[in-house]
């Protein structure tokens, strides 16, 4: 990889204040996203992947706050920007799409008005907004965009709504698109359409994508690099190919083994015993230790550092690779 990354997240810690004390939903995360590439962030509910993306966008809801770290977009720390400047970045240089397009669209306004609103916010003097919005709809392959411009969200299917969200996100030519479970609510045939569209648009615009998902199939299909998160920390980070060919962290192994596959007949799935620890009762050492069949006393003593075991492949596990532990 040449040149500086578009986005670099360093030591990010986002904590929420509760009556039982502060807890960190994201706890010391380092990531980088090269230009024009896709970073996949994988994990289950509660692993902190959505809070991480909200932290990058400066949208952490109260009582949460970013307690430490840097979010560097082309070298500029977004966390130190005043709110007005951040508003300019958000939707301008960094855009975001969410899982459920129906709740992200305003039901009482036609979709065309919602797209032009975003354009006007970032470029108050803009003209022929209608034509630009229709072009944006056409670009996400919505049939008959002139007619769709005046339609309301309820008149569109789930896949069409997600296309509208993408059109809106891309209206100001962002350098980074954060897609938080963009296809989770969609049927598999529609999911394939949306993934195809995102890939084409990336090739066309050269934008970087952070793709947040729980679906290892989607990650394998889309991501150049993958970060696996568990309970607020990155446990493994590698090029997508390396992660699937040479999975190191026991949690990554557990995830891979939990997914039924079409290319394999196994009588029994590998199930990770137990559940993700609640944020107010995190173990002091490795957070996966209570569920890990390879855990030893040292795992419970202190959090394992993220170490590089081969170029670009990082893992936070004392026992990796597991065959040496056995």
């Amino acid at each position: 990889m040449t040149g500086a990354p578009l986005l670099a997240v360093k030591g990010l810690r986002t904590s929420f204040r509760t009556p039982n004390g502060d807890f960190a939903a994201v706890d010391g995360v380092d990531l980088s996203v090269p230009r024009g590439r896709t970073l996949g962030i994988v994990g289950e509910s509660g692993c902190g992947k959505s809070v991480l993306s909200l932290s990058v966008m400066g949208l952490v809801p109260r009582p949460g706050r970013v307690a430490a770290g840097q979010v560097l977009l082309e070298g500029q720390d977004l966390l130190t920007l005043p709110p007005a400047a951040m508003r300019h970045i958000r939707g301008g240089e960094v855009a975001m799409i969410f899982q459920e397009p129906m709740t992200s669209l305003n039901p009482v306004h036609p979709i065309g008005a919602q797209i032009t609103e975003a354009m006007r916010a970032h470029d108050p003097g803009a003209t022929d907004l209608r034509a630009r919005a229709i072009a944006a709809l056409a670009r996400v392959r919505i049939p008959a965009p002139e007619r769709r411009f005046d339609e309301y969200p309820h008149q569109l299917s789930g896949g069409m709504r997600q296309r509208v969200m993408i059109a809106m996100a891309l209206a100001c030519a962002p350098k980074l698109l954060i897609a938080d479970e963009p296809t989770t609510a969609l049927d598999v045939t529609v999911q394939a359409q949306i993934l195809d569209l995102l890939r084409d648009l990336q090739a066309e615009t050269g934008m970087s994508i952070i793709l947040i998902t729980h679906d290892l199939g989607v990650v394998a299909e889309m991501a150049d690099e993958v970060a696996v998160m568990y309970a607020g920390r990155v446990v493994e980070r590698a090029a997508a190919r390396d992660l699937f060919e040479d999975p190191q962290h026991p949690y990554t192994l557990g995830l891979l083994g939990s997914v039924p596959r079409l290319d394999e007949d196994r009588p029994r799935l590998l199930a990770i015993e137990g559940t993700v620890p609640p944020p107010f009762a995190l173990p002091p050492g490795c957070r996966f230790a209570p569920r890990c069949p390879f855990a030893v006393a040292a795992c419970e003593a202190a959090p394992p550092p993220l170490r590089e075991i081969s170029p670009g492949h990082h893992v936070a596990c004392l026992r990796a690779p597991v065959e040496l532990a056995a």
């Binding site: 049927d187 394939a192 199939g217 699937f244 060919e245 997914v259 199930a271 990770i272 069949p293």
Partner: protein, 353 residues
């Protein structure tokens, strides 16, 4: 071969669409399920798979008469349940139970878990208070929960645990058939695997038959003995698992299989999207319902409803060209790399030991 446990013939559910507040008149009909027939044997799993709006969940509810069918018959253990009175229907439900998708919505938040699991026993007048308590403890053990958890309330449990509670409740009356309506779709992958394994264990232990409703073909391939693919209220293809995945004979089945991304970056870019959206069931297309999205559609598909073509034993496809389709293009070779497979085996061995 004895008679099947469940036999469904020409099942249909048509919802009237009305307009006007006082003198409402019917302006259309939503054909949610439109002539579905299948059988399910004892101890077997039949999966109903399809995209949202295909009628698979409506079929699940019709089979138990949780909603009234517009046409067709449902026989459980040989008896047609479509004409049963309410008390007779209640007796029937000892043989057939259901597990729902959303474990958050399907448990009463004001009943303790023990009360929720004992409720079917009370309804059917099984046992006395002491024997019911013992049975609840036994059921909790069967689904991997502890007896003391009977005193707890649903909000104290995680999604996976709540789904286990739902399974325990369905098992309480020792049914022959459990209708599983997307039982793992709302769960995280690692929890999904736990519940899938539990369902398989319980099936081999008690000889349960599952009508397994799902949209994820990989889960279906793992769970089912036979698979029926639904589209717009009709069954497009039905076959045993092996034939359906190795030799799908309906373009819709092929499109579904081709749309699934594999967890394997070496096979990137092989996903082929199917164009368009599912048409409205208010106005299903004439001829073959799939013709508006079918890459192989001919003139006949737009006009004539396809007949049921038998491909092999138990393998049927509702496509004019079922027998002539070219060999399927998808490729299910691959799988885990040797390194990954070895580490997964170590993980499994450690977990078991």
């Amino acid at each position: 071969m004895t008679a099947p446990l469940l036999e469904v013939q020409g099942l249909a559910k048509h919802w009237p669409v009305k307009q006007g507040m006082i003198l409402a008149r019917q302006v259309g009909t939503v054909r949610a399920v439109d002539g579905v027939s299948f059988t399910l044997n004892r101890g077997e799993t039949l999966a109903l798979v399809g995209e949202s709006g295909c009628g698979k969940s409506t079929t699940a509810r019709l089979v138990l008469r949780l909603i009234e069918p517009s046409a067709g018959t449902v026989r459980i253990n040989g008896a047609d349940i479509t004409g049963l009175s309410a008390p007779e229907l209640r007796r029937m439900r000892r043989q057939a139970q259901i597990i729902f998708q959303d474990p958050f919505a399907s448990l009463n938040p004001r009943l303790s878990v023990g009360e929720a699991i004992a409720e079917p026993l009370v309804v059917h007048g099984i046992g006395d208070a002491a024997s019911r308590t013992a049975r609840v403890h036994e059921l909790l053990g069967l689904v991997g929960l502890a007896p003391w958890q009977a005193e707890r309330f649903p909000h104290e449990f995680s999604g996976g645990q709540r789904q286990r509670i739902g399974i325990a409740r369905a098992l309480a009356v020792q049914p022959d058939l459990i209708v599983c309506d997307e039982p793992v779709s709302a769960l995280d992958v690692s929890i999904q695997a736990q519940v899938v394994n539990l369902l398989k264990d319980l099936q081999s232990r008690f000889g349960l038959a599952y009508l397994f409703i799902a949209h994820d073909l990989a889960v279906v391939k793992h769970m089912a003995d036979r698979v029926a693919v639904m589209y717009l209220g009709r069954i497009m293809e039905v076959a045993d698992r092996r034939s359906l995945f190795a030799n799908p004979r309906h373009p819709y089945t092929r499109a579904l299989l081709a749309a699934i991304p594999h967890p394997d970056p070496r096979r990137r870019g092989k996903v082929t999207p199917l164009g368009g959206d599912v048409p409205s069931p208010l106005n299903p297309p004439p001829g073959c319902r799939f013709h508006t999205r079918c890459p192989l559609a001919q003139a006949i598909c737009r006009e004539v409803e396809p007949p049921d073509v038998q491909i092999g034993p138990g393998h049927h496809s509702a496509c004019h060209f079922a027998a002539e389709l070219p060999p399927p293009e998808h490729d299910f070779s691959g799988g885990l790399t040797p390194v990954a497979a070895r580490r997964l085996a170590l993980f499994a061995a450690r977990e078991a030991g």
